[in-house]
């Protein structure tokens, strides 16, 4: 029962990152309950729009799983196509986040404006950064898949990337629940 080294390393990294995000989420919740931040969140956030973009990220977990399945069936070209779709869905999610950020910044909600901005931008910003890093890694994977120089990604690479990508997705589900769904049910 030996876990392959790359996968084990990624699993350990993900465990550490999970704790990192827990601390940022904890800070968000702490300041939301300790101050009037909930009101700002209520006035400024749009759970429906962000929810729609969130579906893209959740969908991308499905597409990367399909990519892994294709790779296991030996169809590397089809796997690469699924990864391309994953990247596109990730890009749509990031675009959605960018639109939300510019809307918030436009209406005066910034890091410096108050505790809501401080915690919201830090939390979603760090998640966005993780999405971006994942997209870069997946793009490199795509590039290598189509390169003709014999540098095709090793088997198992996609599994390691999937682990990271699913993690980024799960973190978003938690963040979405904590920030947006709380507003819906509040």
């Amino acid at each position: 029962m030996k876990v392959e080294s790359n996968k084990l390393g990624m699993a350990l990294f993900v465990a550490s990152e999970a704790f990192f995000f827990s601390l940022l989420i904890l800070a968000y919740l702490y300041f939301q309950t300790a101050s009037g931040g909930t009101r700002v969140a209520h006035n400024q956030l749009d759970p429906l729009t962000t929810g729609a973009f969130s579906l893209c990220l959740i969908g991308s977990s499905l597409t990367i799983w399909l990519a892994g399945r294709s790779a296991r069936q030996g169809s590397n070209q089809r796997a690469a196509m699924w990864v391309i779709l994953t990247v596109l869905l990730g890009l749509v999610f990031l675009a959605g986040q960018g639109m939300e950020w510019s809307r918030l910044l436009g209406s005066g909600v910034t890091m410096a404006q108050g505790l809501f901005g401080t915690t919201f931008f830090t939390l979603t910003g760090f998640h966005g950064l993780h999405v971006l890093i994942g997209l870069l890694a997946l793009s490199i994977f795509i590039g290598l898949s189509f390169s003709s120089h014999g540098s095709a990604p090793k088997p198992g690479t996609l599994e390691v990337l999937s682990l990271y990508w699913h993690f980024v997705d799960v973190v978003w589900i938690v963040i979405f629940s904590v920030i947006y769904l709380r507003l819906v049910f509040a």
């Binding site: 827990s22 601390l23 890091m111 505790l115 901005g117 401080t118 830090t122």
Partner: protein
């Protein structure tokens, strides 16, 4: 089944011998031995820098009311001393030894991720220089190594020092996290056939447990650092009370890292002691399982004790009581190990070579530091002694008397393996006695000064009876320590040039790193002796008296 175990091949290319030689072969290296040596060298460099900083402080404090340093300079220097010694000396020293030794001890060719290993090291170098660049760009941080908010906020720390501090530590911390993952995967996946987790050397056990602590101690540090940077650079309000933030949150997050950090800085030293004491007592370690198991207990508990750094905050009695209890509890698994080491020495044929001298002194000094540590778990005593020199005395007994004595023991022990040359015993004994005397002169009186109420982190002190004398003793001790360190450096240089040739196994030790040549070849081993117990080289030399270890006890014979 063949007796010679096959070394698991590393899945990344080993450095080519043709590239060996010249500076580039070091800078571009992904070899765990070269990277380990570079860790040790950079730590030694920063040990000199941090040591000079401590001498500057001791000159300022030699007598009451001196003006050798201004208060501002003093604050910068004590902050840099603490930060340097923790992040750029003790941690890299331990990581350096881990990086060098773990693959050799488990019979592997290299780390699981050699390139990541190099990245970790260069992140440390980058972070260290980033931190020190603050001196050039407007002044070093002056907030202590713990950078309490709101003092560390831009309203009170107007220079860029704290931002450099935070960025530097982010780089260093990220590198440390990567190394921890690398070491853990190496230990879990690359052990040679027969090297079960119940047979690995205890040093490897400690590194593995340490990996888990690092994995969950770095996130709170990174989180607090990015929050502080947000406050300072983007006007966020995490820790500014005026903006509704909470300065106490900094303390929670920082100490959620800071206390596990204390164990990160001692576990590998315990591992070294657990290797050295058996070899120089000519006995196997007493209670292997207890040394390993108590470390796991410590790793778990280390996350439940951090708020004993915060008893003066006023978090409430239930809170204080819970953390007091946990902090008292963690002394138990720590004490277990002390008895393991004493019992290993008991009745042994002890050879007091320099490594063993340092290891023996470690037992005494670390116990003193441990006992003064337990006193802080008692809330009223903590209220009385917090922020005094009693605290300074305590953590120097643990970090210097403990970790550094362990590291010195390890340096004398493994230097022959690393270089092929023995360190001079004569200079080694000079180094040992000067260090022992200098250390106790410097720090023992600080217990008394602290109990008398002398505040730490202040550039001078009132002329109370005895305070000037005791501080003078401390300053003299610091200079004795400086001389001791010069003896060490001299020993390193002289022994490297004309030291006695070491041979493969100068100490008649039993673990796998001694089965290869000194220094080991790039690929570490040509062949590895069969591993059927915890002391493969003993079993090889004394097949009739091999350590009794049935497959069932050793947890199976699987690779």
């Amino acid at each position: 089944m063949s007796d010679t175990a096959l070394v698991p091949e590393s899945h990344e290319a080993l450095p080519r011998i043709s590239a060996a030689g010249g500076l580039l072969s070091w800078i571009a290296s992904v070899d765990h031995k070269q990277i380990g040596i570079m860790y040790l060298l950079i730590s030694l460099f920063f040990f000199g820098v941090g040591g000079i900083e401590s001498l500057l402080m001791r000159i300022q404090l030699a007598q009451p009311g001196e003006h050798f340093l201004s208060p501002q300079e003093y604050n910068q220097i004590f902050t840099m001393h603490g930060t340097t010694m923790i992040f750029l000396v003790v941690m890299p020293l331990l990581i350096g030894f881990s990086t060098y030794l773990v693959p050799l001890m488990i019979g592997a060719r290299d780390m699981a991720f050699p390139r990541l290993n190099a990245l970790s090291f260069w992140l440390l170098v980058f972070g260290g220089f980033l931190l020190y660049y603050s001196f050039i760009d407007g002044g070093a941080p002056a907030t202590g190594w713990f950078s309490y908010a709101p003092l560390s906020e831009s309203a009170y720390s107007t220079s860029k020092g704290v931002s450099y501090w935070a960025l530097g530590l982010l780089a260093v911390g990220t590198g440390t996290l990567a190394t921890a993952i690398n070491l853990m995967v190496t230990i879990i996946n690359l052990r040679v056939k027969g090297m079960t987790l119940r047979r690995v050397p205890l040093f490897v056990w400690m590194v593995l447990v340490n990996g888990f602590i690092i994995l969950f101690a770095m996130p709170p540090l990174n989180a607090s650092l990015i929050m502080l940077l947000g406050d300072r650079l983007l006007g966020a309000h995490f820790f500014t009370a005026a903006g509704g933030g909470s300065p106490i949150l900094w303390q929670h997050y920082f100490w959620a890292f800071g206390h596990p950090e204390v164990y990160i800085m001692i576990l590998p030293a315990w591992g070294m002691i657990s290797e050295i004491i058996p070899v120089f007592s000519r006995k196997p370690i007493f209670g292997y399982e207890f040394v390993a198991g108590s470390s796991v207990a410590i790793a778990v508990l280390s996350f439940a004790v951090y708020a004993h750094h915060m008893f003066v905050v006023g978090l409430g009695h239930p809170f204080d009581a819970a953390f007091s209890l946990a902090s008292l509890t963690i002394a138990v698994p720590t004490g277990v190990k002390i008895f393991n080491w004493i019992a290993t020495m008991w009745g042994g044929k002890i050879r007091f070579k320099t490594p063993m001298l340092f290891a023996t002194a470690f037992l005494v000094l670390f116990t003193i530091g441990g006992i003064s540590g337990v006193t802080f778990a008692m809330v009223p005593i903590d209220w009385q002694t917090t922020d005094t020199y009693y605290v300074v005395a305590h953590f120097h007994y643990v970090l210097f008397g403990g970790t550094l004595f362990g590291v010195f023991a390890g340096l004398y022990y493994w230097f022959p393996k690393i270089t092929g040359k023995l360190l001079s015993e004569r200079l080694g004994k000079w180094h040992f006695w000067l260090t022992l005397i200098g250390f106790n002169l410097t720090f023992f009186v600080q217990h008394l000064l602290g109990l008398a109420g002398m505040a730490r982190r202040v550039y001078t002190y009132p002329n109370f009876p005895g305070w000037g004398d005791m501080n003078l003793i401390s300053t003299v001790g610091a200079f004795v320590l400086a001389i001791a360190t010069l003896v060490l450096v001299w020993n390193l240089i002289v022994s490297l040039r004309r030291g006695q040739s070491a041979g493969d196994n100068p100490w008649e030790a039993w673990t796998l790193e001694w089965a290869t040549s000194s220094p080991p070849p790039v690929h570490n081993f040509d062949s590895v002796p069969p591993v059927r117990g915890r002391r493969p080289l003993w079993d090889l030399a004394h097949p009739d008296q091999a350590d009794e270890m049935s497959p069932a006890r050793a947890g199976g014979t699987n690779a």
